[in-house]
Structure formats: structure tokens, C-alpha cells
């Protein structure tokens, strides 16, 4: 047992950090620190920079453009990206649909879609959630009816993140209406430019346009865009969700935010002295740093444990990372907002460069990140998973 990183791992970390420092376009990092969104072009630009280095899909098989890194290196890479902070890879293509395609897709699908994910030529979005089916995903109602060489897709998806930028959407749709809840579902790849696809933006409480509703009105989807077998889509969806092993901890973001809090507090006046000298504040910051350490050590243990885990099989320990990761991200945005103090309430659009740039986005980030304990299997669902799958209750 040796809990420290090996020399090779440390060297790898330094390499990643140096690469980011050398290649990340100016301004990206500051934007992320302020909780602002990158544009589609900026995300694409960065993805292609990583792709040129061969790093745009680290966990993929080498034959499809992956790196061959072990789970520890993958974690280090992600951690450095988050800590810098640099933009994370867009998960919908690289982490979600990509592995489904290279595991269950046809050769034609692999050749057609995978290379375009690596370069973000195709921006994907996720068509799982529906208005009537939140945490109860399998209650979905969207239908796909076979007509000759097409499926006719009808229904509605919601909470579709960044769909406004998307070229493609992967959709769970019911192909056998007679089958029981989890059965009779298929996994379809749908071109967003298809006739009958419409999109309604949903404004989030932070004022951002991040999520959307998507309506399918007799959309014709070629049968070649069915992944794997008809009516087996639920299995692929479970595989997709089970691949999310340790990404949800996002500890790098937490560390970056804690550093920003300390940096800000050194400059925030608190009636004559900097807030950073206030013992109450210092205790709160220290308490969060401790929690971050506990989560990070737990992440290390889960990642080290990866080696023994079958790929694509859900590891219930990841529920711990989801719960604590989201809580800690939320707790750090709370403290970020508290540091800013009275200026935190300024609307971020108004807090322009003239005066309040330092305060920008703190309350908006706090609002926005309430989503973390809701989506991706709410924290209540995660507790049930732990109770049932780990504790056997």
C-alpha cells in the first residue's frame, strides 16, 4: 500500500499542466472561474487543440483515438483540466454516446460517428429525460414506429443540455408499446436537422440558456441509426450511465473554486481589514478544504479499485462520489457567494467589467449548481442505490 502518486504519475501530471498552460487560449480560464459558459466555437477550438495532441477522448480504445491511459492517469488528466481551470471535454459525445457506439454500434456507425466526436465536428446531446419521467427514466413515452427503412419518432424530451448547439441527439424511444416498462425501448441516433425536430429553450434560474425541450413530430430516422438491437435500448442506456464512474466527483473544480475563494477573500474588505483575516471565514474555508480532501481520497480509492471492476457494470461506490461531489460543489459556490458579500446579489449580466468583475457569477453559479443534486440520478436516488445495492436494505 502506497497512497502517494508514483514518479511517473507526477511527471504525467506536470506534462498535462504544462500542455494546458502552453495551449489554452487566452481568456478561457477567467471565463470559467467566473462561472460563464464557453461559446460553441470556443469549446470546439479547445477540443481540436486536445485532439491534435491525441487527448480528446482519453478513455477510448486506442484504435478509435483513445490514449491507453490507466484509470489513475485519466483521473489526473481530468483533475488538471478542472483545476486549471480549462474547459472539460463535452461529455455527450466523448463519455456518453461514444462508448455506446464503439461497444454496441455497427461498423458503419463507428466509422461514421466516432472520428467526428473526437474533433467535435458533431456536437451531441442526450435525449433521455421526459417531462413525465424525471428520476423515473423508464417511464418515458417517446415512440418510434417502424415504417419500412425508417422509424417515425414522436414525443418530447426535456432538460436537454446545450441542445441549441447540437448536431445529433441520442434518443431512448419506445419501439414496442406492449412491452413492460424497461423493455421495448430502443436507442436511436437522430440528426437534429431532421424535419420535425423543434427546440424550445428553457431559461434557468441563473438566467442562462443551458437546457431545452425538444419535440419530435413524425421525425423520420433511418433504421441504420438504430444502435444494436431493437428493444434492447435500456441495456445500452444502463451501460452508458454505468460508465460514469468517477467523473461526478469533479474534485478539480472544487479545488479551483476553493483557491479562487481564498484569492478573493484576500482582497474583499470587511469593514477595515480583508475578509481572509476573519477567523470565522478561515474556519469555514478550512472546513471545506477538509471535505475536499476527504472526497479526493475517496475518489483515489474508487479509481484504484477500477482495475478490479468490470467495465460498463455500475459500481455503486460511485454513488458516494455523486452525492458528496455535488454537495461539495454546491457548498463551495455557497462560500464563493458569501465571500463576495453584498455585491453577490448583482445580476451577472450587469456586473460588467466596469467595476464588479471580481463579483461576477458568484450567485448565478450558486443558483445554477443546484441542478447537481437533481440531475444524473438525484441524490435521493443515489441514497436509495447505496441502501439497496450496497447495504442490502
Amino acid at each position: 500500500m502506497d497512497l502517494r502518486f508514483t514518479g511517473e504519475e507526477q511527471a504525467f501530471r506536470a506534462e498535462v499542466r504544462a500542455f494546458i498552460r502552453a495551449h489554452l487560449p487566452a481568456g478561457f480560464s477567467q471565463k470559467l472561474k467566473q462561472g460563464r459558459k464557453l461559446t460553441r466555437d470556443e469549446q470546439t477550438e479547445w477540443t481540436r487543440i486536445l485532439h491534435a495532441k491525441g487527448w480528446s477522448a482519453p478513455h477510448w480504445p486506442v484504435e478509435w483515438g483513445g490514449t491507453g491511459w490507466d484509470p489513475v492517469k485519466q483521473m489526473i488528466f481530468r483533475d488538471e483540466i478542472q483545476q486549471f481551470p480549462a474547459p472539460e471535454l463535452l461529455s455527450f459525445g466523448v463519455s456518453m454516446v461514444g462508448p455506446v457506439i464503439y461497444t454496441f454500434g455497427s461498423e458503419a456507425q463507428k466509422k461514421r460517428f466516432l472520428p467526428r466526436i473526437l474533433t467535435l465536428e458533431d456536437w451531441w446531446c442526450q435525449g433521455f429525460s421526459e417531462p413525465g419521467a424525471g428520476s423515473d427514466l423508464a417511464a418515458l413515452k417517446t415512440r418510434a414506429t417502424r415504417e419500412g427503412e425508417h422509424y417515425i419518432l414522436d414525443g418530447q424530451k426535456t432538460w436537454t443540455t446545450l441542445a441549441q448547439h447540437a448536431d445529433w441527439i441520442f434518443v431512448l424511444a419506445r419501439t414496442d408499446p406492449a412491452a413492460k416498462k424497461q423493455q421495448g425501448i430502443s436507442f436511436l441516433l437522430v440528426d437534429m436537422k431532421s424535419l420535425g425536430v423543434t427546440l424550445r429553450p428553457i431559461e434557468m434560474i441563473d438566467g442562462s440558456h443551458e437546457i431545452n425541450e425538444i419535440f419530435f413530430d413524425s421525425v423520420r430516422v433511418p433504421v441504420e441509426n438504430l444502435v444494436g438491437e431493437e428493444n434492447k435500448g435500456w441495456d445500452y442506456a444502463k451501460f452508458l450511465l454505468g460508465n460514469e464512474r468517477h467523473g461526478q466527483a469533479r474534485i478539480g473544480l472544487v479545488k479551483a473554486r476553493l483557491r479562487r475563494i481564498r484569492e478573493l477573500a484576500a482582497g474583499v474588505p470587511d469593514g477595515g481589514r480583508p475578509l481572509l483575516e476573519n477567523h470565522t471565514f478561515r474556519r469555514k474555508l478550512a472546513a471545506l478544504e477538509i471535505q475536499a480532501k476527504a472526497l479526493e481520497m475517496t475518489l483515489f480509492r474508487v479509481v484504484a479499485d477500477e482495475r478490479d471492476h468490470e467495465k460498463g457494470k455500475p459500481n455503486p461506490a460511485t454513488s458516494i462520489l455523486k452525492i458528496r461531489g455535488s454537495e461539495l460543489q454546491q457548498a463551495t459556490t455557497e462560500l464563493l457567494m458569501e465571500v463576495i458579500g453584498p455585491a453577490a446579489c448583482l445580476h451577472h449580466d450587469d456586473a460588467g467589467p466596469e467595476g464588479y468583475d471580481w463579483a461576477r457569477g458568484s450567485m448565478a453559479s450558486y443558483f445554477n449548481l443546484r441542478k447537481l443534486s437533481i440531475y444524473g440520478g438525484s441524490n435521493e436516488i443515489q441514497r436509495t442505490i447505496i441502501a439497496k445495492q450496497i447495504l442490502g436494505l
Binding site: S129, D136, C345, S378, R383
Partner: protein, 383 residues
């Protein structure tokens, strides 16, 4: 000990609730937010008609002689409806400054117009470096012939860019942070040397950053003692925090009601999600916190009649620390139990959460007030 309302109080409560019910549903509010001013002149006129704008002022001053209980009832209703018009800032806070610092003549000159909604006023106090320390006044008032010249920066003045008149606190002597040497000055908002920049806030209100440079204020526009205004300011802030606590209770009450209703109607896994015990217990905890918040709003209301200023401020700090905690818990849980719909702008609960978040910090967050309390005498022995 008596918690029942008098007939007049019940009437007041009913009339405010009815007025807001008629004019201020979620859609109406959304429309108001989208206007350039971010507030409704019609609603303000309605408040004037109902007598709300003159409520806290004595009848001799042209008001309706309402006390802390009446303000409590009004603010609860304002909270439920998420009223953005600055009743709290303009009538409760600025009004309290007038009541506690202005002379009889000044009150006679200012209050009737304020109560009629004709003259809009704002209290410009916060210093950019103060955070929430009330004595941290950096704006300076220099003695000149026939008056003062005021120079400095004021921030976060609620609807300050739309006010006709400002009351500005400024230092006539002493170091920044000293308890003495602070005076209050009535400034015409369009006086030479006044610059105002308006910002929107996350809860839909407007605030202004105000720069004063050599703004001349004649002697007759000085409110009270030029060096001894801090006690009046502290008292006014205690009053506004008490009122804020009642508003917060109103917002939380609405958030809990909406959440419980949602739990009863939203179906998942084939049943109403309110049948899940973990969510039931969370809702129960929200209810307990809500009831405590109601109690603390009442306590704040009671504390305002305390004559010992230190004891009164202790009690108010206790209330603010408590309400801030309650607001965070109830706001977050309301969002969590609503799930996805809670984090959208399309549903009222998100706006309740946003208002609660701003309330947490307004006039000092939990840590600030708990620090004050920790440095003071025991709350147990004070009130």
C-alpha cells in the same frame, strides 16, 4: 402574552392580501420585472391608496400610526407575492431614518409626499468597503458656509437611481469605523455632483451605485445631530431587519406550500412522490423550520419595542442569523423537491429561492450577525 390580531390588524392583513391577490400574481410580477423601471407605478399608487406607504408614520406626521405588528403583517404578504417594489427599503428603512433622525419640520415636509407615493426616497448608506459594518462610513461631509459639501461613494442603494431624494450618511469627523462623527444629509437626487448607475439584482430588484462629488447640502437639509446619527441608523436597520424577517417568513411560507402541493401532485414510479418517506420527512423538517422562522419574525417584532439599544440589536442579530439559515434551508429544499422544474425561471419556486438567497445576505449574513452576537452579552440575559 397574546398572539391574536386586533380587528384593525386583521383588516389590514386582509386588504393587503386581497390587493396583492388581485394585482400581483406570478405573471403580473414577470411583466413588471420586464419593464425598464423594474417596478410598477400603479402598484405603488395602490399601496398609497391602501395607506401602506404612510403606515409606519405617526398621525401627526401625516401617517397612519401603524407599529411593528402592522409592518409584520404587510411584509408577510409582500413576501408571499414576491413584491419587487421597494416597500422595505423606502417605507420601512428610509422611513425609519426620517422617523428617528428628522426634525418635526422636516418630517412635515417629507412624509406626506412619501406616504402619497409622490416623492420617492432612498437611504444611501453602504460604503464600498463596509461589507455590513454600519459604522464604516467613508463618505465625507466638509463644513462650508451655509451647509456641507459631500464627497464619496455609496453602493447597493435600493432603487436609488429612481429616487427623487436621497438621504446620505456621511462622516463629519472621526476615522472610518468610529461610532461618532456620522451625520445624515438630505440630497436632491438631481443635485450637481450626484452620479447614479443602476444595476439589476438577482431577485429582480434594482440598486444603484451613487457617486457624490462636492455635493452641496444646506444646513436645513441636515437630519439631526451631524455627528451622532449612528444610533438612529442602527435603530432603523434593526427595524428593517425585523420587517425583512417577516417578508422572509412570507416567502418561505409560499415555498413550503408550493412544495407540499407539488409533492401531492407530481407522480413518479407510479405514485405521488409525496408518498416517499424520505421526502415526507424532508417536508416535515421544512415545516418545522418554517414555524421557527414565524416565531423569530414575531420575536423581532416584539424586540423593536425594547428601549435598551444593545439588547434590541442583540435580538435582531439573533433573528437575522436564524432567518438566514432558515431561508437557505427552505430555499434549497424547495428546489430539490421540485427537481428539474425548480431550477427554471418558468416556475415561481425558483424566484422564491432567489429572493430567499438575497434575503440571507441583506443587511448582514448569518456569519456577520453571529459574530456580532458572539462578541456581545448573552442573548439569554438580554431579552
Amino acid at each position: 402574552m397574546d398572539f391574536t390580531l386586533t380587528e384593525e390588524q386583521q383588516l389590514l392583513k386582509d386588504s393587503v392580501t386581497r390587493f396583492l391577490g388581485d394585482t400581483y400574481d406570478f405573471a403580473a410580477r414577470t411583466t413588471i420585472l420586464a419593464t425598464p423601471e423594474g417596478q410598477s407605478a400603479a402598484v405603488w399608487a395602490g399601496f398609497a391608496d391602501l395607506g401602506l406607504l404612510g403606515l409606519p408614520f405617526s398621525e401627526t406626521d401625516g401617517g397612519f400610526g401603524g407599529g411593528a405588528v402592522e409592518i409584520m403583517l404587510v411584509m408577510e404578504a409582500m413576501g408571499r407575492a414576491l413584491v419587487v417594489e421597494p416597500y422595505l427599503a423606502e417605507i420601512v428603512l428610509t422611513g425609519a431614518i426620517l422617523r428617528h433622525a428628522a426634525s418635526v419640520e422636516q418630517r412635515a415636509a417629507l412624509i406626506p409626499a412619501l406616504a402619497a407615493g409622490e416623492c420617492r426616497m432612498a437611504f444611501a448608506h453602504a460604503d464600498p468597503e463596509a461589507r455590513w459594518h454600519l459604522a464604516h462610513v467613508g463618505t465625507h461631509a466638509a463644513r462650508v458656509r451655509g451647509g456641507y459639501k459631500i464627497t464619496g461613494e455609496k453602493v447597493h442603494v435600493p432603487f436609488g437611481a429612481q429616487a427623487h431624494r436621497l438621504i446620505v450618511s456621511a462622516r463629519t469627523s472621526g476615522l472610518i469605523g468610529a461610532r461618532t462623527g456620522i451625520g445624515l444629509f438630505l440630497v436632491e437626487a438631481d443635485a450637481p455632483g450626484v452620479t447614479r448607475i443602476e444595476h439589476r439584482t438577482q431577485d429582480g430588484a434594482r440598486i444603484a451605485d451613487i457617486t457624490l462629488s462636492d455635493v452641496f447640502v444646506p444646513d436645513e437639509a441636515v437630519l439631526g445631530d451631524t455627528a451622532g446619527a449612528l444610533p438612529a441608523i442602527e435603530r432603523a436597520y434593526d427595524e428593517v431587519i425585523a420587517a425583512l424577517a417577516s417578508e422572509a417568513f412570507g416567502v418561505m411560507d409560499e415555498a413550503v406550500s408550493m412544495t407540499v402541493e407539488y409533492l401531492k401532485t407530481r407522480q413518479q414510479f407510479g405514485v405521488a412522490i409525496g408518498s416517499f418517506q424520505a421526502l415526507q420527512h424532508r417536508a416535515a423538517e421544512m415545516f418545522v423550520v418554517l414555524e421557527e422562522a414565524r416565531s423569530m419574525a414575531a420575536y423581532a417584532t416584539m424586540a423593536l419595542s425594547e428601549t435598551d439599544a444593545a439588547a434590541r440589536s442583540c435580538a435582531i442579530s439573533a433573528v437575522k442569523a436564524h432567518i438566514a439559515c432558515a431561508a437557505r434551508f427552505i430555499g434549497q429544499q424547495a428546489i430539490q423537491l421540485h427537481g428539474g422544474i425548480g431550477v427554471t425561471m418558468e416556475y415561481k419556486v425558483g424566484h422564491l429561492f432567489k429572493r430567499l438567497t438575497v434575503i440571507e445576505q441583506q443587511f448582514g449574513d448569518r456569519d456577520h450577525h453571529l459574530d456580532l452576537l458572539a462578541n456581545a452579552e448573552s442573548l439569554l440575559e438580554s431579552l
